[in-house]
């Protein structure tokens, strides 16, 4: 691991070639990290991979996180590894949320019990007589309390949101149908996505992991060859691992007299 001073050296060296590429360094619990702005992440990764003496050629993991009350809200982490020296370094790309607080809920509303794929159309009522469809999301309308801290959390600089070119996926509107892809998908009522450059051409291993981050956090990777949902059904609405997405599921009623909606899970 590069230690604290070593990290400062790396930061100074990166910034000599590309000023402003590294904002900060962090050395915590024996783990080194570089903090970079989202636009510069490719430069830094390329530098770390190709500079003689650094050669962090193996991307062991790419993952995103949502630090909701904090600002900037999202971050994408790149865990780089130098296999000769066994040194790891984490590049943390900060990603503000371009959505303004007003449209927090739009585009995030969970599907109203819509069955994800075609076969579900034939789901008839079952023994219990109730025709509940195959979605686990029917557990209840999202109440105010579910949007934990949604208001204060996502200030985000609206200036960051620029209409993108073809790389942006079709935006989704509140009803769960993807809208037609247009030249500027960020139309009224649609939540703009945070965007970052894809690194699939630098590290082919990032392919699935970027799709995963897009699926769970709605982070758009510009230039990704095939940016689709990884895990959730294609027609799912929302990005479930954002902190302001309700966890879903159902309350467990332990006794008969308990109210059907105890509310503790919110």
């Amino acid at each position: 691991m590069p230690d604290g001073p070593g990290l400062e050296l790396i930061m100074a060296e990166v910034n000599r070639g590309n000023p402003g590429a590294v904002l900060d360094t962090g050395y915590d619990r024996e783990q080194a990290s570089l903090v970079v702005p989202a636009e510069r992440v490719r430069e830094v990764l390329e530098w770390l991979r190709d500079t003689p003496g650094q050669e962090y050629t193996f991307l062991s993991s790419l993952h995103a996180a949502d630090y909701l009350p904090a600002e900037p809200r999202f971050a994408v982490h790149y865990e780089l590894l130098n296999r000769e020296r066994y040194e790891r370094i984490r590049v943390k790309a900060l990603l503000p949320d371009p959505a303004s607080p007003g449209d927090v809920a739009v585009g995030l509303a969970p599907g109203n019990g819509k069955v994800p794929t075609g076969a579900g159309g034939e789901v008839p009522g079952t023994g219990a007589g109730e025709s509940r469809h195959g979605s686990g999301l029917t557990g209840g309308e999202p109440s105010e309390g579910s949007w934990r801290g949604g208001e204060e959390g996502s200030g985000g600089a609206p200036g960051e949101s620029r209409p993108t070119e073809s790389s942006s996926p079709p935006a989704e509107n509140g009803e769960g149908r993807p809208t037609e892809p247009s030249s500027s998908p960020q139309t009224n009522g649609t939540r703009p996505f945070p965007e970052i450059d894809s690194v699939v051409d630098l590290f082919p291993t990032a392919d699935f992991q970027e799709r995963e981050a897009y699926d769970f956090f709605g982070i758009v990777f510009r230039g990704h060859p095939d940016l689709r949902r990884m895990f959730m059904p294609e027609d799912y609405v929302g990005h479930p691992q954002r902190r302001d997405f309700p966890i879903g599921g159902e309350p467990v009623i332990f006794t008969r007299d308990e109210p059907a909606d105890p509310g503790w899970w919110k």
């Binding site: 193996f58 993991s61 993952h63 630090y67 959730m232 479930p240």
Partner: protein, 423 residues
């Protein structure tokens, strides 16, 4: 093979360009394939007996040759990472165990290790040995299940029965120490939940002999099995550089000749005190993957033997009352313990802000756990870098240009665990 592996072409190459080499039967003979009018799209899964779970593959075929392949996953996506965010740190352990359901001890070690790193907790030596013991037993279990199902896929039914016979013996060990066969929740933050019971060591030593005998049985069943050899040799070869680009780790990488094993490199727990070798292959085909895994099981047995010999006495869990439950006996005598117990059980311990990535070597490769804490008793994010998920990307490179029948074998040799892929 003249196929360029990196391209994202959807079978876009003209078929006449693609030369398929039939290796093994007649070396050096190349067959020019007739250009077909169109590619046939075949959907495999999610309910398919040979996909080892609910993996779905969209395969484009030209005749019988795979030209393109897209894995579609998510059919057992369980939202575990999200559920973890609403649980106290110590309640997360049962959740993460259920991700990669064949390597539950590894999952909980990755998570516990990350949390221990976050709070700076030292694990006592006996606990470290016990963890290594259980993890290596778990590696045996995982490879046994892999071997049984893989042999089933290439048509050797009896190996399945032999493997599951021995696997049950391994699970008996878990049952004895932790009380359950799978998903034991034996590892705790700070150590292990309970000391091993009396007689466990003797039983473990007995098990070593059983598995050793078993291993030679499987080898005698498979090593000279003509069908098995023809179906695995020189099939699904991807070279080392490409595997590294794709982030592949574990037996797949080692079969391609790269002695990369985090147990040696990172030296977590007590692995740097133990003496074991890293088996590597030479060609990187299905056969090498099989040999490497079998050799790994022998090495695991070696590790288990050394751990049993060197098992130190002492506590099996740290005695930091801020993070570790006090022993039951203290509860009736010490008020302080009672308070700690109450706090830990109701709220859980708090962890200072920070983020940690903790990688270990699971039976399938680098299993990393990324935990973010914000000072409260619940993690902000728990993410697993699952080796099956990353390794799955290499399936495309392995399968393109091969026959569709070999796809089954290639997939089986990849050893994907869908619970780990989808989490």
């Amino acid at each position: 093979m003249t196929l360029e592996p990196g391209g994202n072409g959807r079978g876009g190459q003209s078929a006449a360009e693609i030369v398929h080499e039939i290796e093994g039967s007649a070396p050096g003979v190349t067959v020019e394939l007739e250009p077909e009018q169109e590619l046939l799209m075949v959907n495999m899964g999610p309910h398919h007996p040979a996909t080892h779970g609910v993996l779905r593959l969209e395969v484009e075929l030209e005749g019988e040759v795979v030209r393109d392949l897209r894995p579609i996953v998510g059919y057992v996506h369980t939202g575990i990472e999200k559920s973890c965010e609403s649980m106290a740190f110590w309640k997360v352990i049962p959740f993460v165990e259920r991700m990669d359901y064949l390597s539950y001890f590894f999952n909980s070690e990755a998570y516990c290790g990350a949390v221990e790193k976050l709070i700076g907790l030292e694990v006592p030596r006996r606990a470290q040995y016990l963890r290594v013991l259980h993890m290596e037993l778990n590696r045996l279990h995982s490879h046994l299940v892999w071997l049984g199902t893989t042999a089933l896929d290439v048509g050797a039914m009896s190996v399945y029965f032999y493997c599951f016979r021995d696997r049950d013996r391994v699970l008996d060990m878990f049952e004895m120490s932790a009380g359950q066969r799978m998903h034991t929740r034996y590892f705790q933050v700070g150590g292990v939940a309970e000391d091993i019971p009396e007689g466990w060591e003797a039983k473990a030593r007995e098990l070593i002999g059983v598995i050793k005998r078993g291993l030679s049985q499987y080898e005698s069943l498979l090593d000279r099995n003509e069908i098995f050899l023809m179906r695995t040799k020189n099939i699904g070869v991807v070279d080392r550089e490409r595997l590294l680009e794709l982030g592949v780790t574990g037996p797949l990488l080692r079969a391609a000749g790269d002695p990369w094993d985090l147990r040696k490199e990172a030296g977590y727990l007590v692995y740097d005190e133990l003496d074991f070798d890293i088996p590597v292959g030479t060609v990187g085909d299905g056969y090498d993957r099989y040999r490497v895994r079998l050799a790994e099981m022998r090495e695991s047995l070696k590790i288990i033997e050394q751990c049993l010999d060197g098992l130190p006495d002492g506590p099996w869990i740290a005695d930091d009352r801020k993070y570790v439950l006090p022993p039951r006996s203290e509860l009736s005598t010490s008020m302080e313990s009672l308070i700690h117990h109450f706090k830990l059980v109701t709220e859980g311990f708090r962890v200072d802000p920070g983020e940690v990535y903790y990688p270990i070597e699971s039976p399938r490769g680098e299993l990393g756990c990324f935990v973010v804490a914000d000072g409260s008793a619940k993690p902000v994010r728990v993410h697993f870098r699952d080796p099956s998920f990353v390794n799955l990307q290499s399936l495309r490179d392995m399968a393109i240009g091969e026959y569709v029948a070999d796809l089954i074998q290639t997939l089986a040799m990849l050893d994907p665990i869908l619970g780990g892929i989808d989490r």
